[in-house]
Structures are given as C-alpha cells and as structure tokens.
C-alpha cells in the first residue's frame, strides 16, 4: 500500500489569445499547460500537488479514453477552482496546493492526460491504490503524522549557547 509519483512531462505554458496576432502588449489572462504521461499502464490519480505563482483560478480538463473504439473525449475535472480569494492582493499567491480525487468526479485517468492548468510550476502526480479513496486519505494522514514526529526533534530547551564553554567568536557570517 503505497503512493508513488507518476512520471509526467509538463510542457511549457501557452497563452490563449484571440486571433492570430501575436502582441507583446496584451497580457492574456489564461495560460494553458499540457501534461502528458509517458508511462503506458493506466493508473488512478489520487493527488496533484503544485506551488502556485499568482494564478487566481484553476481548471483541469482530462482527455479520457473510455474504450478502444470510441474516440477520446475531454472531461472537465475542475472548473475555476479558486486559488487566490482576491487576485489583486497577495493572499494565496505563492501557496502550496494539493488537489484530491474526491474534489472531482471519480474516474480512471488514461495514460495520456492533457489539461489547461494555468500555473507555472511543474506538478507532482501520485499513483494511488486500488482501494477506495477513504483508505488512501487515512494512509496519507498516518504518513504525515509519522513524518512529522520523526522529522522534528524534541522541543525541550537546550540552554547552551557556547561550544564546550567557549563563546569566543569571529565576526558574523553572511551566508
């Protein structure tokens, strides 16, 4: 029972613009990021994690193959998910965000995933369990707890500021 990162290829951002004219003045408000999956086996996507950089709203669309014969179709998983409550101020502008499967209609993601995601940092995608999402979120909780407890040292005060009784110092360091 483990979650793993799914190798994915994140393409560069493409601005959505009206017409053919490429202008450097107008700043389009919507950017698209394509994410593809080189691995062959189908997987169940549990979580998408990324760091925001001044994106206000996020939509995710997935291209699904339902069977070998029907053509693939685009499905919207997430529409206008708000990352910045006030886009003209700094709230949420550089936050780390996780999106979970339960936030969108559940489905199996095909090997090729393409979605318009206007955010500039690469995403980490996690392959899930065959179990229901409830179990996976509990596992996530336990993992987080044990990580925290293992990673942090005791909060007890140490007290000593010297090294073996010596506090004879050079100048202050800049690094």
């Amino acid at each position: 029972m483990s979650r793993v990162l799914v190798p994915c290829h994140v393409k560069g951002t493409v601005a959505l613009q009206v017409g053919d004219v490429r202008t450097s003045q107008g700043r389009p408000g919507v950017l698209v990021i394509d994410v593809t999956f080189p691995s062959v086996a189908p997987f169940e996507l549990q979580e998408i994690t990324f760091k925001n950089y001044y994106t206000a709203f996020l939509s995710i669309r997935v291209r699904q193959h339902t069977s070998a014969h029907t053509p693939a179709k685009w499905v919207t998983c997430l529409r206008d998910y708000c990352l910045m409550p006030d886009p003209h101020s700094e709230e949420g502008a550089q936050e780390y965000v996780s999106l979970f499967k339960h936030q969108s209609p559940s489905m199996t993601f095909p090997k090729w995933l393409s979605h318009p995601v206007p955010c500039e940092q690469p995403a980490l995608l996690c392959e899930g369990l065959p179990d229901p999402s409830r179990v996976s979120s509990e596992v996530q909780q336990m993992w987080a707890l044990t990580e925290m407890i293992r990673a942090s040292h005791t909060s007890a005060r140490i007290g000593r500021f010297d090294v073996d009784g010596c506090y004879d110092l050079n100048l202050l360091s800049y690094t």
Partner: protein, 526 residues
Amino acid sequence: MLQEESDLSLIIAQIVQKLKGSNLYSQLERQAWASLQRPEIKLESLKEDIKEFFKISGWEKKLQNAVYSELSVFPLPSHPAAPPEHLKEPLVYMRKAQGNWEKRILKSLNSMCTELSIPLARKRPVGEQKELLNKWNEMGTDEPDLSLFRPVYAPKDFLEVLINLRNPNYENGDSLSFRTHLGLIQVPLKVKDIPELKECFVELGLNTGQLGIDDSTQVPPELFENEHVRIGQKVLAEQDSAAAQQYIRQGSPTALRAELWALILNISSEPEDVLYYEQLKTNVIQHDLLVDSLIYKDVKLTASNDDYYFVFEDYLYQVLLCFSRDTSVLSHFAYNSASPPKSYIRGKLGLEEYAVFYPPNGVIPFHGFSMYVAPLCFLYHEPSKLYQIFREMYVRFFFRLHSISSHPSGIVSLCLLFETLLQTYLPQLFYHLREIGAQPLRISFKWMVRAFSGYLATDQLLLLWDRILGYNSLEILAVLAAAVFAFRAVNLMEVTSLAAAEAVLADLSTLKVMPLLQIFLFATVT
C-alpha cells in the same frame, strides 16, 4: 471533509509534539502516576478515572490553556510539501528583502566590531564577574563610555527598506494610475477596510461597555465597571486563558491586569522558571557581549529619558541582558521571517560543529527596543516574572514589528492598513499631507514600530495593549494611528510643511485611546 480531517490530525500531532518537551508534560505525567494512589482510580476504568481526576483537580484546564496558547502563537501547519522557509514567510520576494536587510545589519555590526576593536563576545575575568554580581540590582548607576557605540539601526532606516519593497510580479507602471498606491507602501497585501474591522473588533462598539470610556469619573460604576470587575475576578478564579482573552477585549481593571496578562500568555511562575532566569543571569555574569553595550546605549537614550519609565532603568537591564542569552527564543524563528545571525568559534570558521548564533537569542536590538519592556515594569516587579512576560510578548507580537513579512500583523501590513484607512476615509487630509511633502506614514511609522510605547500616557498604553492581547493581533496599532490623524485633522489641514505636521502630532500624551478608536471605527460617517 477528508482534507479537513487530515488537517486536524496534523495540527494535533504538531501540538502534541510541542507540548511533549514542556514542563507541563512532565508535571502531568507525575500527577497521573501519583493519582494511582487515590481510591477513586480503579484499574478497570483507569483511563477514564485519570481523565476525571485531571478535570477536577484543574490539570485539564492547564492543558487546555497550553493548547490554546500553542494555537494562538503557532501558524497552522502548512502543506507537507512546503519547506520550512515557507512557514517563515510564504512570499519569496519578502524573504529576499528580509535577507538583504539582515545582511546590512550584520555588516553594520561587524564594522562596529572591527572599528572599535571590541570582540563580539568576551569571557569576563573573575574579578569583573564578582563586581557585576554585586552591582546587579543597580546597573543603572554605571556610566560606561558609550559615545563610540551607535545603534545598529533606527526605525526610519527600516522604513526606507519597506518603502522600496516591490513585488516582481506586480505591474505598477511608471506613471500614476489607479493601480499605483498613493502612499509609501507599494506591495499589494490584503488589508481590512472599516466594515471588516468593525466585524473584527465588535467588542469595541458603541453598545459595549469599555474600560477607557465607561469607567470615567462621570459614569456611575454600577452601570458597567463594577460588573466588569466582578466578571474579571471570576475569569481569574477559573484560570481559563481563552475566557481571559475574550474578557480583556473590553479592557482590564488595573488591579487584575498583571494576572490576566499572565493567564492569557500562559505564564505561571514555576520554580523551574525562576531557576531558568537565574541561569540566564549567570550567563550574563560570565560573558560580556557587544550587544550589551547596544542595550545600555538604548536604555540610556530612550527609557532613562522618559518621565514615566526612568525609574525602571535597572529592571530594563536585568531583563534585556538576560533576554540576549536566552536560546529558547530561537524557536520563534520557525514562524518569524527573520533568521538568527550566525558565527563561528574563533579559528573554526566554516566548521559546522563550531557554529553558534549571536547573540544567543538571535535578536539584535535596535534603537527603541527597550521601550517594549518599559511598560511591563508597571505590572510586574519580580524580575523572573517580568522577564517571562516580556519574552512571551516578544515572541508573540513584538517581533512582527521589525521584520519584513506578509503576515496581517506584520509591520508592512500595518503600514499599508494605516495608509489605506487614511486614504479611504480621510482623502482630503491624505491628499493635502502628500502635497506638502508630509507622507503620513513618515510620522506614524515610529508609533507603530514601538506599539505606541513612549508616545501615549502609560494607562492609555496599557489599555491599548489589553486589546492587542484580546484580539491576538497588532492591527489595532494601525487603526489607532489613523484615528489619531482623524482626531487632529483640522489642525493638520492647516499646516504647510512636514515639520509643522510633525509638530501637530508630536505630543500624544493627552490622548484617550479608546474613545478615539471607537469614534473612528463606529461613529464616523463613511
């Protein structure tokens, strides 16, 4: 739903981890073991019986207070992928600005060190140690030659740094547009407007009794004051931090203030705390630090010259010198955008096992720093208690007033809140002052950085600090600053220079803060 549950588990895990290292944890453990002797504790229902015992004996309340304290101080755990620096400050450009500012301070301190040929730290010879121990209660009588020392920085230097803060992703354009900020602060932080402030500070409203207004001599005490005092005594008897914090929003009776603040800050003077303070005192005796001279100089320049605070000069040394040696203060850097300065033992440059922080608590005092301690001397006379209260006030509130961060109680947000309030609700005044070259923030900045200490009369200052504790926020400082400008608006509209504007606002010692705040928030036509 699932996300909230896992967030809660994370918060619980973090608090448990924090409290495990505390005195309270060992006390609870001892109490639990000792309780096994009691007849009402049965083996079959051990867990429930011990929990019941804790509830009755008041230990559960102590634990509740400790948890409440952790929740008030520490930010919520962030995303698992977020690195530690994200918790200190989420915006990269602010972190960079803070780093650059710190470098400047370090360079300044280093040059002072080399120019004056004084070491950063020096072990005192035994004779000097004895002398200092004898003089401990009257260090103010010392008149060391401090003429060569200069403060590392003054608030106005810090203001210049804040004025130059820019978000690289924010397009302001060179010309004035609706997007340019008219004030000095140019970063687009979210600040509250008056309707939001009214919601936030609802207990300061016109229909709620306040100390600072409804206890004045003309108002019969039966109307509000007597009942409020009675409730305060009840809150203290219950020893409930959360209740105390709610209560103090309406102000604290003078007689109860010291205990109430201690309850809210979760300070109880155990023998271990007194011992800890004595240990810090020993550290001061053994080592002399360069920052000690900076502290001396600051006290001599500020508190000693103040009519209200000069009597406390000796206390200030006893607190601030020990504060510099206190390594437990280092833990607040987890949520402070600042970082403690680092150095190496002489001859071991670059070797991590010989890396130390300087000063031991990581805080370099600036001009006016001692004014954070001075008002507390009116409330606490026992040095170790005074020390604990100051330390807790510092790691909860005061550190935000001199570090660059995007926190709503950080000085940058306070400055922007002040400017926005003035611009929105007193546009004529704001425009006039700008036109005459008297940007309002240049005058109010020093008030906010010092949390008004040294500018207001002491009883008024303590009423203000009651609300800082009650609302667990420093935003009230910005609101008061705007309210002061509103109060003196008529005179300010007539001045024609920055110097004249400063003169109008030079003396705040006659101001009554609560009526000013109440009128500005609740009685001004908007």
